[in-house]
């Protein structure tokens, strides 16, 4: 009997098999850790377990998960997109500036078109420079991202740019049953798109192929450079979408308001099991990673520690997570 057949005879709920599949699946690890950290948070502050708390948890997780989608696709393709934060901020500024407290379908369409166009152009620049200059993706996207941020300064002169329309704000932060934030509706539209691109299209398969073995993908007939450029374009557009939602959440936008998302999205994606080397990773993992990062930040807040201790703990935990993730990789090999 082969090992594979032997394995199939063990029921899935067997502890040993559970452990194996647990270790093999970074999303499961991330979900389990999130649950654990959530429990700790509740134990420390039982009063915290209220609708408001859970609602904001869902809202922030959703926002982070949406912002990390583009990063996931780029990383799977073997690249890295450092301009996620800058594009989000720029889109948020476009949104609040264009809306200027007004709500109408026309304005929404304008915002969407302008932002997505901006995201696509930035992505095109990123992808073109990465493929054509041959410099490391990290450096190129960083340089492009800096320019986007500078443009925001020039555009807004450093002060907040307008306000999002109230109806739009409500469409993000309204709580169904006093619990579930309405941003979830956007997620319900957005997440299937990501799954379609990554898992249910030939393009997605090509991204995985390019990330996993570029030479093999090339010889199999994939237009490798085109695929890489497209990952950046898609990433730019998705970040822009996330930025619009972010504008609704914050109601107003200033320069670099989502700048930190360059890193938080990266961490969420990596913690969710996508590798730097490319070819491995899922959007489910990224969602799990986003949840984990949000729960973690909540826990650090709940602990009531001073900001300094929160920073230190945050750094240490990220390193621990990276170690945990590394170990799970070793098991697989």
């Amino acid at each position: 009997m082969s090992a594979a057949e032997h394995r199939d005879l063990i029921p899935w709920y067997h502890p040993k098999k559970l452990l194996i599949s647990f270790r093999r699946s970074p999303p499961l690890v991330a979900f389990a850790l999130s649950a654990l950290l959530f429990l700790i948070t509740i134990l420390i502050n039982p009063k915290g377990l209220n609708n408001r708390f859970i609602g904001s948890l869902i809202l922030l997780t959703t926002l982070l998960a949406i912002s990390s989608a583009g990063q996931t696709i780029v990383l799977i393709g073997g690249g890295m997109d450092f301009s996620v934060g800058a594009v989000m901020s720029a889109a948020a500024i476009i949104a609040t500036y264009t809306m200027d407290k007004q709500d109408s379908v026309l304005i929404y369409v304008q915002v969407l078109a302008l932002s997505l166009l901006m995201g696509a152009v930035v992505g095109l620049l990123n992808g073109f420079f990465v493929v054509k200059i041959g410099l490391p993706a990290m450096i190129v996207t960083m340089a492009v991202s800096n320019i986007i941020t500078r443009l925001q300064y020039v555009f807004t002169s450093g002060s907040p740019a307008g306000w999002a329309g109230q109806k739009f704000v409500d469409s993000i932060i309204y709580r169904f049953f006093d619990l579930i934030p309405s941003i979830v509706i956007y997620a319900l539209l957005f997440v299937p798109v990501v799954f379609w691109i990554l898992n249910r299209s030939r393009f997605g398969k090509q991204v995985y192929m390019v990330g996993n073995n570029r030479q093999a993908a090339y010889l199999t007939g994939v237009r490798v450079n085109w695929v890489i450029i497209m990952t950046y374009v898609i990433s730019g557009m998705m970040s822009a979408f996330a930025g619009i939602l972010g504008a609704g959440y914050k109601a107003t936008a200033r320069v670099d308001i989502f700048g930190e998302y360059a890193f938080t999205s990266l961490v969420a994606v990596i913690v969710g099991g996508t590798t730097f080397s490319g070819g491995v990773g899922t959007y489910t993992g990224t969602i799990a990673g986003a949840l984990l990062m949000t729960v973690l930040s909540n826990l650090l807040t709940t602990l009531g520690l001073p900001q300094t201790m929160r920073d230190i703990l945050n750094g240490v935990i990220i390193i621990l997570l990276l170690m945990l993730y590394n170990r799970s990789k070793a098991v697989r090999q």
């Binding site: 420079f129 200059i133 041959g134 410099l135 490391p136 990290m138 450096i139 190129v140 960083m142 340089a143 492009v144 800096n146 320019i147 500078r150 443009l151 300064y153 020039v154 002169s157 450093g158 890193f263 990266l266 961490v267 990596i270 730097f276 001073p306 900001q307 300094t308 201790m309 929160r310 920073d311 230190i312 703990l313 945050n314 750094g315 240490v316 990220i318 390193i319 990276l322 170690m323 590394n326």
Partner: protein, 355 residues
């Protein structure tokens, strides 16, 4: 004459050539813009001017040099900027809070930074965690430590301690320049030791380096410690320049030094030298200056022309991106040597006769 053209040719093949070209362009632009702006063509060469420019930017240049050392062994550290602040904070707080002499503060700061660098090395090369995210995590940790040591900007350095750093020796030679030169000489010394060769071997191909009896982890650790030392010196310079402490300053030096290194012609592992770092960082600084002078000249000449510093920053960042583009052209010489090699091979292939 022939030897001169030859050595020029040779220089064009070195990795520092890319950075050198950019540096020269930026330097010329800076001299021109400043000359035009101030009305005196050689304003740049006033000791007071270049002295203060070097003094202000010495920490950044040193940081970039440290970053280039890490890049040679295939690592990079984006927490390198906040490490400057760590050194600064300890330099200020040890004398202020513990009443110890100033040199003890410097020593403690240097020790702390070496410790941080060793920890970074342990995470990135021993545990093989991605350097990028380790740097990100370290930024948080060091920020936390900085603020818990010094909650808000404060402190001062006695005049007799910081003045020497800010003077010009003989009225022409800035002390800051001496510090940079000293560190560069140290690098030249290291480059001539076996370690110098091993740094490149490990960055170029760890497997082949290992086959030659070199331990990659050990060499990467050594590179980290050297980096820690240089950043320590940079932090002390920062302290002497500001004559006060700020726990959250210089964080952006981490990413900026990385871009500066690439602008200077470094590769990720085994390609480039500290000269790349010096050229790249200087390009960074000079371009920002030149753009400043350019805009202030415009506002003088064109009545009613006034732009914010935001425009200046945008223009300098666009120039930086163009600089990255320029590296394709300047690196062409290096590629040409590669092509020449292939061409020889091509001719040789035809000349080869199988008996």
């Amino acid at each position: 004459m022939n030897t001169l053209t030859q050595s020029v040719k040779k220089f064009r093949r070195t990795p520092a050539f890319t950075g050198f070209v950019l540096f020269t362009i930026a330097l010329v632009m800076n001299i021109l813009m400043q000359g035009i702006n101030s009305g005196t063509p050689l304003a740049f060469f006033k000791p007071a001017f270049y002295g203060s420019m070097l003094m202000t930017n010495a920490p950044f240049i040193l940081t970039t040099m440290a970053q280039s050392l890490l890049l040679i062994v295939g690592l990079f550290d984006i927490s390198i900027g906040i490490q400057l602040a760590l050194v600064n904070v300890i330099c200020i707080m040890v004398p202020q809070e513990l009443g110890l002499p100033i040199w003890a503060g410097w020593l403690a700061a240097m020790g702390a930074n070496l410790l941080v660098s060793a920890a970074f090395g342990a995470c990135s090369s021993l545990l093989r965690l991605p350097a990028m995210l380790v740097g990100y995590a370290f930024t948080f940790i060091i920020k936390g430590v900085n603020v818990s040591i010094m909650s808000k900007p404060q402190g001062k350095v006695p005049k007799e301690v910081y003045l020497p750093y800010q003077t010009l020796i003989g009225g022409v030679l800035p002390v800051a320049l001496l510090v940079i030169v000293a560190i560069f000489l140290m690098w030249l010394l290291i480059k001539r030791r076996p370690l110098g060769k091993h740094l490149y071997a490990v960055g170029g191909n760890p497997r082949n380096a290992y086959a030659a009896g070199i331990s990659p982890v050990k060499v990467q650790m050594q590179a980290n410690l050297l980096k820690g030392f240089i950043v320590g010196v940079g932090g002390i310079c920062l302290t002497l320049m500001n004559a006060s402490g700020n726990p959250l300053q210089a964080e952006d030096y981490g990413l900026r030094s990385l871009i500066a290194c690439i602008l200077g012609g470094m590769g990720f592992g085994g390609w480039g030298s500290m000269a790349c770092g010096v050229f790249g960082a200087s390009f960074f600084v000079l371009i920002q200056n030149a753009v400043y002078y350019f805009f202030s000249y415009l506002s003088k000449v064109i009545t009613g022309f006034a732009v914010s510093t935001y425009w200046q920053n945008l223009v300098s960042d666009v120039i930086l991106l163009l600089g990255l583009l320029v590296t394709i052209i300047t690196a062409r010489e290096q590629r040409k040597t590669l092509k020449e090699g292939l061409f020889n091979q091509f001719k040789g292939g035809e000349a080869r006769v199988s008996r």
